[in-house]
Symmetry: C2
Subunit: 237 residues, 2 copies
């Protein structure tokens, strides 16, 4: 009957309003930024976007209003999540800032290029000499910039390292004013780019808080969003 | 009955033996090569591999034994075709050469990087100065090298240009000793990288032979393979 349908709708609405991230805005960045060299060539990295997509799905399951900012991903789009496709670090920064004032949790899972080409050719560069020198300039550091602008936002960063994991992770967390830092050694089996699993340590300002076993990116996404939810102002202990 | 199944099998085998490319070996390269900068970063280009995959499917439909050499593609794998995944220009060259002596038609649809990083770091390069200079060195020119080693092989190249299409196309065809050169202006709507359609001119050593309308990459793949089949030694006019 129509009454049962309406009741069921409001029941689901009520249940969703009771979830750990109900009424919260979560922004997740995913994938690897693309920095153009010319109209057909670019510099990018191996980030597949799987970790960011898993985080966005977990945040949605926990009741949040989620925006996923995706660069160079080739994954099926998750249901119920607003996805914005973009390319460069600058576009990523602009998109994050556009949502910043209403963001409760920002998870920067994207691998954002540290450098971009100093000059982007508007024509395909023709092959010429035996060598070519590409001048790169530093991109804005999105996480560092957000760390300085933080008011209520919980800021979660990632560190993909090939050596000296803890040293780089704690250094990054402090320099960038993150609340949580998820660090993985991408040289370890099952960790890092393109895989369906991840093997991470999680740090907060006090140091290592979790050293997780090999988990699927879905399981890890849920664990991270649960940790984040528990750290929001007013969260029940 | 078993007799009917066996008859049907031999009928299909016979029919396949009568196709325009029956008994012919076709090698198609597809996608955009990936040139490493360090374990997580690379230089690549916008080639999606769609044109190469369509060419491989067309060659298979015309009866050929097909090998598809794919770099940085995210497409569903076509049935009945041997696919080899690889990354760099050097790996592409090695893979093409491994099949060269038995190849009848080589279609180089992949966008192969002209340059690679002079030094590939075995550790992730840490961000440091405001600028970074990337020294690149020229890759081997696969098409030119094959053009010099041609015996029986029909060599088909592509040119993706943003300006002066015919000039660059004829120049490339002659310098690289191609039999057919498929040229598109990637700035035109519906042409080029990532699209499902393409808009090309086809050249041989005498000049322009076909100026095709906007076609799906499947239609264009079939047209190119038909043109190629007609140019093989012993092809019926």
């Amino acid at each position: 009957s129509i009454v049962a349908v309406v009741n069921s709708f409001f029941k689901r609405l009520y249940e969703r309003s009771q979830l750990p991230l109900s009424g919260k805005k979560v922004v997740v960045t995913a994938g690897g930024t693309v920095e153009r060299i010319d109209p057909v060539r670019y510099i990018s990295n191996d980030s597949s976007g799987k970790m960011g997509f898993a985080l966005a799905k977990a945040a949605h399951e926990l009741g949040a209003d989620v925006t996923l900012l995706a660069a160079n991903t080739h994954l099926p789009l998750p249901a119920g999540i607003r996805v914005v496709h973009l390319e460069s670090a600058q576009e990523m920064y602009d998109a994050v800032l556009a949502e910043w004032s209403v963001t409760d949790i920002l998870v920067k899972a994207a691998a954002v290029a540290d450098y971009r080409a100093k000059e982007v050719s508007d024509r395909k560069i023709k092959k010429s000499g035996e060598t070519l020198t590409l001048e790169l300039v530093k991109n804005i550091d999105i996480l560092e910039s957000l760390g300085k602008q933080k008011t209520k936002q919980l800021l979660i960063g990632f560190a993909a390292e090939t050596n000296d994991l803890e040293k780089y992770a704690m250094d990054k967390l402090q320099r960038k004013n993150c609340d949580l830092l998820i660090a993985n050694d991408v040289t370890r089996e099952g960790a890092g780019f393109g895989t369906d699993t991840n093997l991470v340590n999680i740090y907060d300002t006090t140091g290592l808080i979790e050293s997780l076993p090999l988990l699927s990116k879905e399981e890890l996404g849920m664990r991270i969003m649960e940790l984040a939810a528990a750290r929001l102002p007013g969260a029940q202990e």
